[in-house]
């Protein structure tokens, strides 16, 4: 075993038992999965992406590239979770990934022998295949992809749905402090003392120290910055628990709008790249410190390899815990006196001017080789020497965690002494401050002072008092790094990995550069470096050094890539959050429950649920709608039209306003009358149609199609706010105020006569397009005589809360006439027979002429769309225009069919137009359709074919006038 647990007593931590790869493992409460596994002797925790190489723990927290596991909750699998971020609990089940049959013995690791095959761009170059032939390009790739995906890749997702729930919460504050280290805590306390509303978010479990006046969010990782200082974070609410309380989310999506933010996000240690650097046991020195803080220390011989002084303190600390530090290998020829002293404390041999050049050990490190190194020439010299070593701690210097600052800022600033990028200034419209090691201010005391200093500035800016511009503390030279990021040469047979997670080597980066992918953004995409879940935390700086080195440029000249959200992976459930099921709300009419109880098949029309048919046992959809439509023509039917858009239009200028937005005149409409209206867009195409009722001198009720209700309302809002603010008109959506039931059929009036009180409904009292007010079942109703079906028909409107009662009364009154409820299919059938248009024809491409509605274009007044509607392209006689289509063969016509002249299915066919709606017509006793056809009028009386190549339908049809049934409209005027 390379690690041991120093003490289990401490705070009297509770033992915890969990399962890893099917075996029970013991740990202690507060352990991460990674720490518990390491303490139990698991050195290999993952297999690499391409080469299936055994990999061990490498970095602390969210920088860990190797130890990815799948967590299993019942049938649900959550892959690619970093073992360093999993808190263990009783009953946790985790599984290693990307290995077969086991972590220690993996068949695909043979890929490593064929390493050349898998170099950068390999997939694309090799598997795009020949440019011609049956396996050309993408087809060949698709074939190979399946095989490759099995071999390469990370964890496997399951098919079971996620049993957990997620939540979103919206938060607001003056100051959001990110990171509860020394700097962050001090900044939060300072801002809270100044009386500001402060949220402190930290990725770690809660500490015992709470700060007065600060809302602290623990286990909360901030991963995104959006415009206007909006921050996105994930709180792991229950990930560390073995059970959930009712309604408890697993994770919570915090959306925090802050007036300003203080990033105290810390810094991460960087590796130095060298041959054989991925042997399990090679790890960042900071991981050793992190483990030591969790009472887990190395038990085998330890070496450290560094380009800076910070690793010396780690060596001394580990020695203090009883670890055996064999050697400290430093690339620098000279090191500081304090470093030398620390090496002595650690009892380590100090080897300066040297670098590690190779490793031994497959599943665990056994020894390392090092050689003299010339830091100025960046080259190995002399002969290698080998020493026994179980753990190699490496430190290539420290990089401030600038992910969030980069998302919300400009270009990061290169620091030569730190060999790292410092956070950029905020982009316009953003406001944040960075403090502590995230700003290059290391060391506890310095960071704390910096937190207070930056908070003072933030407070002064928010409160509007003069800002004291104290200078930031200088970076402690302990963290200055020699500009050495990669050791070249050395063990020729060993790969030097830059991105462990995607198996990108130093050679891959050089290859990318040779092949022309020399810009960092291009190299990144070609090699996939930095695109895995640790987002380049380990690889970015070494990769830029290597790329720049090839081009003779410094890192400052090469520049870095821009960070984008999320800074760490986010579960999809977190993003869906409080939206569950089908993620959309639904809208129900007042009669919804009745429809379902009466056998309706619901149909989603936008967010609305509407009855499609009221099927009887054994009926097909067609049989049901044909029965319903026939009942309307022969007797009387009733349909729920509550979904129609309804807009209350009030004001002294309401009539004038309608004259401008409708093509026809409304100012002269009498009170108590309705009129069919047509609306054009500014460009002259049809926008919507509907009837508008005049309820008073200054009040109209406009109806719109169900689908366009929102759009029309917005258009009218626009007209009043932006075009004619001087008009005195108010608009209010009253769609939901009214329940609507349309009664149609020869007996419709008889039904009303039976149940309506307080008004007559005969032709004198209620002529076509007339409106009356009365009561049904004692409830107030408004009845308008208008017809979409072409039959004698009425729309009965009542308050939505009375809708069901009025509907019941109508059904009762209709019983002697065998009243039949009908759904959308029958509604569609009736209107197709009549040639009435809907959204299928008003498709944003048709004009009033195309739909034969030119009679509605007033010449007496100007209206929107008038000036553009007569442009040559919109009046061309060869435009598609509305016709009726009759099937000549008795075969059905599919909606969406193309109209063609060819009598056989040919490819390509020359389309004359398309079918917009089709049905079986009980009135005409054949399959019919509406279609938009080139120069439609001139084709009336000719034949063609309705073709649907996808379904193989090719139906001979006759083109007729769109008003296929009762063209004179006698039936509705009775």
């Amino acid at each position: 075993m390379s690690f041991r647990r120093i003490s289990t007593s401490g705070k009297g931590k509770r033992p915890v038992s969990f399962t890893f790869d099917g075996k029970r493992v013991a740990g202690y409460e507060g352990d991460t999965l990674a720490a518990a596994l390491l303490a139990n002797g698991h050195m290999v925790l993952g297999r690499s992406f391409k080469y299936h190489r055994p990999r061990g723990l490498f970095a602390p927290g969210n920088a860990e590239p190797n130890a990815l596991v799948t967590l299993i909750r019942g049938p649900f699998r959550e892959p690619n979770i970093r073992a360093t971020e999993v808190e263990i609990f009783d009953g946790l089940v985790a599984e290693s990934q990307n290995r077969f049959p086991s972590l220690r013995y993996d068949i695909s690791s043979l890929n490593g022998l064929a390493g050349k095959l898998f170099s950068a761009g390999f997939y694309y170059k090799t598997f795009m295949g020949p440019g011609i032939g049956p396996l050309r390009s993408t087809k060949f790739w698709m074939l190979c992809e399946k095989i490759i995906r099995r071999a390469a890749g990370l964890g496997r997702a399951g098919l079971a749905p996620d049993p957990d729930r997620y939540d979103r919460v919206n938060a607001f504050c003056d100051v959001l402090v990110i990171g509860a280290g020394e700097a962050g805590r001090e900044a939060a306390e300072t801002a809270a003392k100044a009386g500001l509303r402060v949220i402190l978010a930290d990725a770690n479990p809660p500490s015992d120290l709470s700060i007065e006046g600060v809302q602290t969010l623990s286990r909360t990782f901030v991963w995104g910055v959006y415009d206007g200082n909006t921050y996105a974070a994930t709180e792991r609410v229950a990930d560390h628990k073995s059970s959930r309380t009712p309604g408890e989310p697993r994770q919570r999506h915090w959306v925090i709008r802050a007036k300003t933010a203080i990033h105290a996000t810390g810094a991460t240690e960087r590796p130095i790249v060298f041959p054989g650097n991925d042997a399990p046991g090679v790890m960042l020195a900071s991981l050793l410190s992190d483990l030591a803080a969790r009472s887990i220390a190395p038990s085998g011989p330890v070496c450290l390899f560094t380009n800076n002084d910070s690793a010396y303190q780690t060596a001394a600390d580990l020695a203090g815990l009883g670890a055996k530090i064999t050697a400290i290998i430093d690339v620098r020829a000279e090191v500081s006196a304090p470093a030398k002293a620390l090496a002595k404390v650690a009892g380590a041999e100090l080897i300066t001017g040297a670098a590690v050049s190779g490793t031994e050990g497959t599943n665990a490190l056994t020894s390392i080789s090092f050689q003299p190194f010339d830091a100025n020439a960046n080259a190995l010299t002399g002969e290698p020497r080998k020493i026994e070593c179980a753990i190699l701690g490496i430190s290539g210097g420290w990089s401030p965690a600038i992910q969030l600052a980069s998302q919300a800022g400009g270009k990061p600033v290169w620091s030569e002494p730190l060999q790292a990028f410092l956070p950029p200034d905020p982009a316009p419209g953003q406001d944040f401050h960075v403090c502590g090691s995230a700003a290059g201010v290391f060391g506890q005391e310095d960071a704390k002072a910096d937190g207070a200093r930056v908070a003072d500035i933030a407070v002064a800016k928010l409160v509007g008092i003069p800002i004291k511009t104290a200078p930031a503390p200088a970076s402690d030279p302990v963290y200055f790094a020699a500009p050495v990021h990669e050791i070249r040469g050395g063990s020729k047979s060993q790969k030097a990995f830059v991105d462990f997670q995607h198996d990108v080597t130093a050679d891959d980066i050089r290859l990318a550069n040779r092949e022309g992918f020399s810009a960092p953004e291009h190299m990144k995409r070609y090699t996939t470096l930095g695109m895995a879940s640790e987002q380049g935390r380990n690889s970015a700086i070494p990769a830029l050094a290597i790329l720049g080195g090839e081009q003779g440029k410094s890192i400052a000249q090469t520049g870095t890539t821009r960070f984008r959200p999320p800074a760490s992976p986010v579960a999809f459930g977190v993003l869906a959050a409080e939206r569950y099921g089908d993620l959309q709300p639904d809208r129900r009419t007042p009669m919804h429950d009745w429809h379902l109880a009466s056998g309706a098949t619901p149909y989603a029309a936008g967010l609305w649920h509407r009855p499609m048919i009221y099927g009887r046992p054994g009926e097909t959809i067609e049989q049901a709608y044909v029965r319903e439509a026939r009942a309307v023509r022969m007797g009387v039917g009733i349909v729920d039209v509550s979904t129609l858009g309804k807009i209350d239009i009030q004001g002294p200028d309401a009539g004038k306003f309608l004259d401008r937005v409708y093509t026809n005149m409304f100012s002269n409409l009498a009170v108590g009358k309705a009129r069919y209206g047509l609306m054009l867009r500014e460009d002259g195409l049809v926008m919507d149609d509907g009837t508008t009722w005049r309820l008073g001198d200054n009040q109209f009720l406009m109806t719109t199609t169900t689908a366009n209700a929102g759009k029309v309302m917005q258009h009218l809002d626009y007209c009043l706010d932006c075009l004619w603010p001087d008009l005195k008109v108010h608009l209010t959506s009253v769609t939901d105020q009214w329940a609507g039931a349309a009664l149609s059929g020869p007996f419709a009036r008889k039904v009303l006569e039976t149940c309506v009180e307080g008004t007559k409904v005969d032709t004198d009292a209620l002529p076509f397009m007339g409106i009356v007010h009365g009561t049904i079942a004692g409830l107030p109703v408004m009845i308008c005589r208008l017809s979409f079906s072409g039959e004698l028909a009425y729309e009965v409107y009542s308050g939505a809360g009375h809708g069901q009662a009025v509907w019941d009364a109508l059904m009762q009154a209709g019983k002697p006439f065998n009243i039949t409820p009908y759904g959308l299919e029958a509604l569609g059938t009736l209107r197709i027979e009549k040639g009435h248009v809907t959204g299928a024809e008003i498709d944003g491409r048709t004009t009033a002429h195309d739909l034969h509605l030119e009679w509605m274009l007033s010449r007496k007044k100007p209206f929107i769309g008038q000036s553009m509607m007569n442009r040559p392209g919109l009046t061309d006689e060869n435009r598609l225009s509305l016709v009726g289509i009759l099937s000549s063969s008795g075969k059905p016509i599919s909606g969406g069919s193309r109209i063609v002249e060819e009598d056989e299915l040919t490819e390509p066919a020359s389309s004359l137009g398309h079918v917009t709606a089709a049905c079986y017509s009980p009135a005409l006793e054949k399959y019919i359709a509406l279609a938009l056809v080139k120069n439609g009028k001139s084709r009336i009386g000719t034949t063609a074919f309705a073709t649907a190549p996808l379904t193989g339908q090719h139906v001979p049809v006759e083109i007729v006038d769109c008003h296929m049934f009762d063209p004179e409209g006698r039936r509705m005027h009775v």
Partner: protein
């Protein structure tokens, strides 16, 4: 993006509906100036940088707003009610 509605205060982008360029003026209804209409309907400046746009506060007071912002950085310079835009402009 967060937009400060003159009535409702600062709200999330999700409450607002983008309506487009606010620098055009519609010709008088009934105008037969074809060029003016074509320009009004089809010519949309799409600058990188400062621009005035119509946004409707659909999830709030429903008012149309004129938002002056930088299309590249999303920095917002001013927000006024569209119905006041003409009077504001003539000030």
């Amino acid at each position: 993006m967060r937009i400060s509605c003159p009535h409702c205060g600062t709200r999330d982008l999700a409450e607002f509906y983008y309506w487009g360029d606010a620098t055009r003026t519609m010709p008088e209804l009934g105008s037969t100036d074809e060029a003016a209409w074509l320009s009004h309907v089809y010519d949309r400046p799409n600058p990188r940088g400062r621009h005035k746009e119509h946004w409707q506060h659909l999830g709030g007071c429903r008012a149309f707003l004129v938002v002056e912002r930088d299309t590249a950085t999303h920095e917002i310079f001013s927000v006024i009610f569209a119905r006041h835009a003409k009077t504001e402009a003539s000030k």
